[in-house]
Symmetry: D2
Subunit: 318 residues, 4 copies
């Protein structure tokens, strides 16, 4: 059986990444990919060119991926025919959006069973994938001291900001620079993190890196007396196993190059001496276009259609 797929909004960074992954996915057929700005241009799928969006073509589909600007997906979902199951890569149906009840949250490893049966999956944001992926198992195992603040310092490459031209994303503005943004706990991804980590006091401070891709999140986790990195790694391994898209590093903390070009989330933990009450340093690394967007979308797709969990995913660096 070939699963018939459409992609709305395929010419941005996320959309192209998704199409590259789908081009390697055996057993799927991408019947169309739309774009407002690149109609007629070739896509990463052989012999497929970008077309304008057309609701009628969605009727014959099994699955539809939405890689639209935030805000545009909700309208499409309402207008669409009943047929295809939908993976929405925008923020429109994520927790905190006000529309989350219509969708299953697709953090693939935490929500596998619900994803399998979902008609509409809200694909997680890039930053939340790392933060929630790292902290949710620790909260469940009572390895976080909820009375103290969890500090997340995150840094992302520029493709996280999309491909629409903006002065502050020009090469000459980004190169040789590094800066904080969304300061004061104002990043729009916080709603999503808080919804999934309820009861945690969270400070999330993102920064812009002079790299194209990749997210590194350094998380200072307040822990109960006696909890160290071993217990944290054990909780992750218990939850995620060793065969999926989440990898726990034992020897050293993960870094950007471990994950750029992959669909992995890499996690690590390090002991901190001499701090009382105690904390542990946790690092989460992922490719914002891979596990942070298109890769996780394909993971969710695989579950929705009963395909092998890792099919077409990139589980080691290129």
């Amino acid at each position: 059986m070939t699963v018939r797929i459409g992609v709305l909004g395929g010419s941005g960074y996320t959309g192209r990444e998704l199409l590259r992954i789908l081009a390697r996915h055996e057993g799927v057929e991408v019947t169309f990919a739309t774009s407002r700005s690149a109609v007629g241009d070739p896509t990463p799928i052989p012999r497929l060119r970008f077309t304008e969006a057309d609701l009628e073509r969605a009727e014959d589909l099994d699955a539809l991926f939405l890689c639209l600007p935030h805000g545009a997906a909700a309208e499409w979902v309402q207008a669409l025919p009943e047929g295809p199951r939908i993976i929405d890569l925008t923020a429109d149906h994520r927790p905190g959006s006000g529309r989350e009840s219509a969708a299953v949250y697709g953090l693939a490893e935490l929500n596998a069973d619900e994803v399998a049966g979902a008609r509409l999956v809200a694909n997680p944001g890039c930053y939340p994938t790392g933060v929630i992926g790292a902290l949710r198992p620790l909260l469940d195992e009572e390895l976080v001291d909820r009375d103290r603040l969890v500090v997340v310092n995150a840094a992302s490459g520029v493709t996280g900001a999309g491909r629409t031209p903006r002065t502050d994303l020009l090469f000459a503005e980004v190169e040789a620079n590094f800066r904080a943004y969304g300061e004061g706990n104002r990043h729009r991804h916080l709603r999503e993190m808080r919804a999934l980590l309820e009861g945690t006091s969270l400070l999330f401070q993102p920064h812009l890196l002079p790299v194209s891709r990749g997210i590194l999140e350094t998380i200072i986790v307040p822990v109960p007396e006696g909890v160290g990195p071993e217990a944290i790694r054990a909780a992750w391994e218990e939850r995620y196993g060793t065969e999926g898209a989440v990898r726990v590093r034992e020897r050293r903390l993960p870094e950007l190059r471990d994950v750029v070009g992959t669909d992995l989330l890499a996690l690590g933990a390090a002991a901190v001496d001499g701090i009382d009450p105690p904390v542990v340093t946790v690092v989460a690394a992922l490719d914002n276009l891979g596990k942070g967007a298109a890769g996780q979308a394909v993971q969710n797709f695989n579950r929705m259609f009963g395909l092998p969990a890792n099919q077409a995913l990139r589980l080691s660096p290129p």
Copy 2:
């Protein structure tokens, strides 16, 4: 009067930066600059070439800058003749080194009077310059809640690691990467920070940026109820004024490009909503080779010899 200067170890990144600043400094004469690896090569000083180190030549000097590998300066200081006053850019005489009693700590703005009379100045480390420069005035004004943890996430360009060839500093290893290091509060600069910020619980987590120069330190400061960014900026302005090498940004947080190529320390603060007990986000930015090393050394030199405080310093981006 021309001040006669010698530079020991002038061919590394810090030494060359120092020589470039001194080349613009009117009223000084650099009589020699030594190097182990670049003897005979031209220096940034017109008509001066690197020579081998020679104790006897130090006798005629007014001032000697030590840009040696950490550990080598202490030996030199003991062997040197009585004559020259010394600015030591290594860690050998910094607080926590065990030799700090022999030197005055040269965080120029905090210690101006003692520096003026010092025979031996321990020039601060690059990371400590930002952390101490940001926090010391806040501690003095009781704007920090000492019962809670101060979290410093820092990121530095690669020249901070020196110019000796190492695989992990090669272009192809650093480019497109970002990584934490010194995890678990193990960076050697912590001794220095703790000595100057006694009584503060401090977590310092450095990262390596894919840039040549510059340090950005994002500091989550626990504050007493009612303390916000305005009070913090006021404390800095009170301490530092507006004419020196420390600049308080009002409108936005400082970023790397505000300071790279300068001898400035830029400070900013942002309110954080919805965290209880309260915190404020502080950002310190400096060039690790400027205010973080050679620029501050020249500031100290200016004070030691009664020269204008900002002479030869670069107080705006190139």
Copy 3:
């Protein structure tokens, strides 16, 4: 005497560079700098903010710099009052524009006397400054074999393309890439080069580098039998001397880092063995924003107003 200056179009890369140079220029007063996109923002000149363009304010000026989009300067020149002398940094009055008769071509070293008396100076393009600066003295000394093709392979940083947002100038598009453009001898700067190098058969192939600033031009020069790099360097030194903004490198070819952040044009030549008929490899390096634009504009300004030739110019790397 203070020279009163206005800048039209000061918020692009060239305009800001010009304002940074003028901020260091003693004896000038920048009375206004205009911008369409940044009205109200601070300029690099202390206490000066960008304003909208206003013809009337030009009346009181001694000098006006035009850093406008190509095409817009010609209109302004016609509309302007008689008063100020004009340095036009656009292509509008360069050789080959059809309007060159109205202006003096300001390749500062080649045309010093005419520049001194000019009312309107056409500031050269960035690529032509290197190519003409390298080749014009060689042609004058009969060191080029005009029967054969001169091949120029040039590479430029992205600020050469301006600061208006374009997808192809985004960080994620430029980083880790390198590409030829303007292939087939179609770059608009060719007219200017040909006008100044008449009788030379020229192939000019530019490329886009993943750097912010700087141009390197590798020129394969067909030479008469017996002509080598020594004769070429001698011709340059004869023409340019050793004190100005053109520097001849003896020991090695110039590279980008020799000139980025400066107002220098660096030239070098290397012998080529085993090619018959003979050629010499010439390399010209300059900062497209320095000697390639704003730096040369200030050089021309200095001559027009009888100021020291190098005033405010940056003649060594920062």
Copy 4:
């Protein structure tokens, strides 16, 4: 049948790239990979760690790849037992080495039949792969005017210089820089190019790019009257077809990002107006670690062992 493989010198950039390709190659077993500096470290092959070199282990092999420093491979080849067929990625057996008679030159597309039967294949250099791959078909079709000079301006990423620490390859030395090297036709790859392009007058000028990977070669080809880019593309397509690792671009010239991370050689040609006698601009692009080294080695391996020509090769960007 599983082909048993060994890799000597697997921890440099080329060796690791080779191991990554082999990790995806079905039907091969890598039994060992050696390293002088990384013994005990993990390789890109699951469950395989680097070991010291051991001649005896080579006896059981079907194939041995040599990724050694230039000069070391020739000794190994003499000392090795008769068993394995060898792909030598060093320069030791390439044309012009003096040892070329012992080996078949493995420019895969030009020499397929000989490679299939070879015991020892000399894998081509990175620069020669592009230059020879572009020009050899044109020479064979009489599309090059041999009386005039072919000018090759080449630019390469830094992994081409290997992974041994050197000051000039440090991040802070390469970033924001661009420079010519090997000037005067002195690059060691010229012997190889000349041997394969006999009778052509060739000027080869390489440059170092601030990127990790990738080579772009801009070749000014003197052509007979009436020859244009169409004839050139036709000659390439005739020689290379459309299914292999050489791709002819029709619409635009190839750029670095078309090939980085692939095992492709991309070729393009552009008409040049107004030059007499005529020339055509040709651009060749390849990844120095892919088609320029490890990818081509696997291509040769596939032919030697009768495997599908493109097995494990990366024929589109990641």
